[in-house]
Amino acid sequence: MSALGKVVRAGVGRRRVQTVVMVLTTMLAVTASIMAGGLVVASQAPFDHAFAKQRGAHLTGRFDGGKATSEQVAATAHLPAVTAAAGPFAVVTATPQFGEGGLVMMIGEAPLTIAGRAAAGGPVDAVTLTKGHWVTGPGQIVLTVPEDGPRMGEVGGTLSFPALPGRPSLTIVGYARSVSRTADAWVAPAEIAALTRPGAAPAYEMLYRFAHAGTGAGMARDKNALAAAVPPGALSGTLSYLTTKHAADRETATFVPFIVAFGVLGLAMSVLIIGIVVSGAVSAGTRRIGVLKSLGLTPGQVGRAYVGQALIPASAGTVLGVVLGNIASVPLLAQASDAYGAAPLTVAWWLDLAVPAGVLALVVASALAPALRAARLRTVQALATGRTPQVGRGRLAARAASRLPLSRALTLGLAGPFARPARSATIWAAVAFGAVGVTFAFGLGSSLSAIQDGVNRHNPGQVSVSTFAPPPVDAGSGAGTDAGPPPPPEPVSADTAAVARTIAAQPGTAGSFGTVEQQATFAGIPGAVRVTAYQGDSSWGGLQMVSGHWLDGSRQIVVGRRFLEATGKHVGDSVTLEGDGRSVAVRVVGEALTVDDDGMHVAADTGSFTALGRTLRPDTYEVHLAPGTDRAGYLQDLNTALKPLGVEGRAQDNRISSTIIAMDTMIAMLTVMLVAVAGLGVLNTVVLDTRERVHDLGVMKALGMAPRQTVAMVVTSVAGIGAVAGLIGVPLGMALHGYVIPAMGSAAGTRIPPADLHVYHPLPVLLLALSGLVIAVAGALLPATWSARTPTATSLRTE
């Protein structure tokens, strides 16, 4: 081995702690960069990537099985504009019940679109299985991963269709995701017959990719060509990928601001920490560089030696970081793909090359600059420099600190950072980044939780009572024969006044009100808007307000942001509600947090519709229970009382959306990562500092400084910096939160209520301000303990 090689090997081997710290630092920095970079890259048009990967359908065509044959539908695959096609697949719509072990629960009024499909793959819409397996025979069903809310049941559970003859029951064998959203569930083709009402013909679904599908106009031409290729009226419905893409992109857009914020924080932190660790390690070797020069090494050789010395542990850390980053990204990207409704996301391959290359380049640059600077020093100067701080620095602070009424160990520690201001600044920056991350994460989590609470207020009751009884089993089939919704089974409407009286009379009821959904038109807005009409005192269960107030009288409406933008109105203005040839002016009394219907959802009182000649009867009652009421017992008693009316109440638990869960998971992981990197930065700097001051520490211990005093002194030397960094980092984190949350709200089509933004109350802020102190102390504790344990005689012998 050459002399230079021996120098490098000795430099790495003899400074084991520093080597380990450098390995850990680069590992964490690379891990952080890959996680952050992976998320940022995955957030760039995830729908487009997933769509390309699954060879998504530009258009999903639904054909009436009674008007076109399977062969006629299949022939559309050969139209000139079609570049690829899959199908025809027989499809039915049916309303399921999920049941297991005798417990049967309605999962919602929406029927499922079920396609008969033998395989998940194919030339178009290659569906991605996320759990279980594809259907292999009759009696099995694969469900789509729900965009929001819980799954219908675990793999192995059953799904029954009680409204269909024979009450078919299917076993859930898997979950899959179709980016094109071509179906809600898939069964074996032969299974479709069992799910089809006798005498009815199933519809056919055909999936197409076109040569020119970029615009709505192009899609319209393709659609017309399809319609012309089959018997008139046979093409009963289509779903353009542009519609799905719009919805997916909007969902993604809510994530992007916070992912980018965290990503930039993570990347900046990684660059900073690597710079701190590597340049610190090289600077600490100035005296050794002097020795090497005295032995005849040229400045160039010294530079190469120290770059090599830094590259060995950095390379090891980089390799580990790439592995760890990819592993840690799996759950993170899984959450992101759930949130985006996209196919499983993976770390972009080029990140696995670019991040290590960037990190190693940074290591070289960080090592080369101080190594060459030291190598250019005169040998005598290099020998004399490095071990101790430049004489004269920090004396004023030391004198001031000595006058503080604190123990000497603490005052010595407090004065320490002033002796090495540049190094102290790097600790400060690392801790400040950590404090910004923690503060931002706290605010983000709190705001998202508050927003979730606000969104949940669309169903505010602890108990809800539907005024429609389930249809009788023999009332009809849930199967449809065309692309539109199936003919709904006739519900049994109860006497709503009697339901309201029964609820009000029930002991434990604190309040209740009724709601009913209506389609309505407003002057100046094309098309119908969904309106939730409230009857009764809904003051306890109103939507979360951004501005104005909740409904407290007739002819009032509360709207979302997009409604105001679409009408050009403001809170306090009037708009005209139209219907059945009549119109009535209603006043916008408030703007609420709502993301339903692209922020176009409207809340009104039922009285507003009376002027249109509509008498609305609630279809649901929301019930608020008195404090201390046992909900299960209440429900049992209430259902006994409601039984004569044919309806029943059910418990309502506000669920947390998968988007919020995904965000919370990402927030937690990214925060832990940021804090770990910050702590490691502190640890490394304190290791360097205590190594350089080992002789001074030995002197103090020889004079009688006890181990606890040594620990206190070392920890205090960074605690002050940490405390200041925390104080600066908290307002920066708050500012970042104040920028990102409204940006996320804007992407989701709503403004964020001030209450959801103002989450930094005095106590949390106080605790967050201590986060810098905690990070600094946590990072310094280990090297402080090492210092205290270093034998005094050894310390005194150290040059």
Partner: protein, 257 residues
Amino acid sequence: MSSTTSVIDIREVRKSYDDGPAALDGLSLTVRAGEALAVLGPSGSGKSTLLNLIAGLDKPTEGSVTVDGVRVDGLGETGSARFRRERIGMVFQFFNLLDDLTVTDNVLLPSQLVGAGRAQARARAAELLEYLGIARHARAYPGRLSGGERQRVAVARALMNRPALLLADEPTGALDTASGAEVRALLTELNSDGQTILLVTHDLALAAACASRTIELVDGRIVRDTGSGGRAPDLQSGTAGGSAAGSAAGGSSAVAR
């Protein structure tokens, strides 16, 4: 000056590092209060090891070390630290002053570590600086002082808590001749005031001037012990005692204790 009370009582001490030969091999030594013991010997003879064991900086492999009535070899890290700051004063060859603290702050350090009263400690420091003739440098930083002055500051720091034992490790090893003579005189003066001193040195002149007793170590064993009242051969200056410290300090010798 020595009394019958022993300040150092070392019995059958053996110290070895890893598998190497013993640095100290069955060494026994008693130093009485008021004695000034010079430990001589070539490099590697075990002088520094002996000093470290007495100061509680290291522990013997076998045997016992008792200083001022305290079994030092049985103390933990915290106990050793407390023992040092309360009973030991140390003077090093290279002074080991903290460069970023003023002379006064350096001297105050031991008393601050024991949590002594602020006013009392400052008065004691001022008294010592005056006694050692360096009061005019009280607010200066060590870097501006001569070697001899720095060593005086180190001595002042060592005496701050009125230690039962002053350990000096080559106290003149880094000084020029004139400064070395000053320090010799100072140590002699201190001993004449009753301060028990153990000094490790190669400097026969120092041993001759300061020590009331001299031992010589070779390979971890005492090969020569002059006993109380015995002085090392005066090879250079011929100064045996004298009042250089007094003349240099110009103050009351009682201050040291």
